[in-house]
């Protein structure tokens, strides 16, 4: 269990490295595969609440370190209405929220129905992006939502969700290598059938 938890943390850190090389698809309204969020979501459904919170903190903290913009700069007397940035650390709370959402369907995953978790990962990414965009609108004022932004959110969620079976497959392989079952009820059912 400890070995598996430790490997999920390493997997999340590796996702940060790979994310650096995943470009935005300009033809799909600049949508992208959010690998970090995907790995976190898939791991969140396979671990306990404490490990999920550790993963959420690491994921949110490093995501903000990667994406946070610098201070405005310039003379405040000239730029009287400076555009606000998102505060460093907001992603930690969003990751935590997504993780709790994923843990809500953990019983289904433990029964071997990983497909529901795969679908929920897409919904969670969509909620995550929508929440992020809503926060941007809240701190900057003037609610602006155009068609392109909406499509960007939808395409990003779908693209990310399509890769979730691959991440689950990796997690199953890792758990069996660590002699740890991430869906024990499904395993018991299989043994009973035999």
């Amino acid at each position: 269990m400890i070995r598996y938890s430790f490997i999920t943390i390493l997997l999340l850190l590796a996702a940060f490295v790979v994310q650096q090389f995943l470009p935005a698809f300009t033809g799909l309204h600049h949508s992208r595969i959010l690998l970090v969020q995907l790995v976190f979501l898939c791991c969140a459904v396979t671990v306990g609440q404490r490990t999920m919170l550790v993963l959420a903190f690491i994921g949110g903290f490093f995501w903000d370190a990667q994406c946070a913009l610098g201070p405005h700069g310039g003379d405040p007397e000239v730029y009287t209405q400076q555009v606000e940035s998102l505060r460093f650390g907001y992603s930690i709370l969003l990751f935590g929220g997504m993780g709790l959402l994923m843990q809500g369907i953990q019983p289904l995953f433990q029964q071997g129905k990983w497909q529901f978790s795969a679908m929920l990962s897409g919904i969670a990414v969509m909620l995550y992006l929508a929440a992020e965009y809503a926060i941007i609108n809240f701190v900057r004022g003037d609610f602006v939502l155009n068609w392109a932004t909406l499509l960007q959110i939808v395409y990003t969620s779908v693209l990310t969700m399509l890769f979730s079976p691959l991440v689950f497959w990796m997690l199953f392989r890792i758990s069996s290598a660590c002699d740890h079952s991430i869906n024990p009820e499904a395993g018991r059912r299989c043994r009973r059938a035999y």
């Binding site: 490295v17 600049h30 903290f61 994406c67 610098g70 940035s85 602006v144």
Partner: protein, 270 residues
Amino acid sequence: MKPLNLIALLLFLGGAVWALTRSDRTVREIQNAYYSAMSPFLKSGSKMETQARAFLGETHHSKALEAELESTREQLGRLRLIESRFRALEYENVQLRHALDFKKATTFDVVAARVIRRNPTTWWQTVEIDAGSKRGVGTQLAVLSNQGLVGKIDRIDNGGERSSVLLLTDEKCQVSVRIENSPEVGILSGQRGGFDGDPMLRLKFLSANTSVHSGQRVFTTGRGGTFKANILLGTIDSVEKGALDSEALVRPSVNFADLGAVFVLLDADS
């Protein structure tokens, strides 16, 4: 909820509050540490990308490349001559300004850089370039292309070889501007969610009865401490008059979809 889970949740919330209350300086230090750790991967990634590009470049017809090289060489020679003449004139200008006791001589230098990554984040419009503090690049410096203003330096990597540029099309990149043949000044910035197609910029705080019209060019005023004066930004596309003030949409002079080489404007003293 189990007591241990409750403690973990409280610790998590405490950690989040700790992160949310960090100052800008601490956040920059955290980012520096993060990108230092990422640096070996980013370097090898850039190297692989360069090799792939070189491989693809080789597959192009060599004669076309040769002709292009020849023309570029000719242009380079011509530009070198112009630059040497420009330097002499600049020196003469400084001397004359000094003789006339002008308060400040505006000298500057540029660093050429290549765009190595586009839009690395979801919501911010940024690119990464292959020039950093090792070549004198610092934060808040203006970045130009041969078509006009591109943006400003937002972050420098710890290794000093890369930096991140906040593009003019981002809502957070604000520029104090003037309109040619007009007394109007305002603040220009990008628009939220303006990724697709031709991004337009929004010019705010024009007077209510402004007489600006489409086709007029927009330049930096030089006020605000970030951008030097008289850098081209774009042309007025349309004007929206309001009761208290007016706004205009500006078509940028730079083609942001095709950014290859850019120039970071340095102060001559740096």
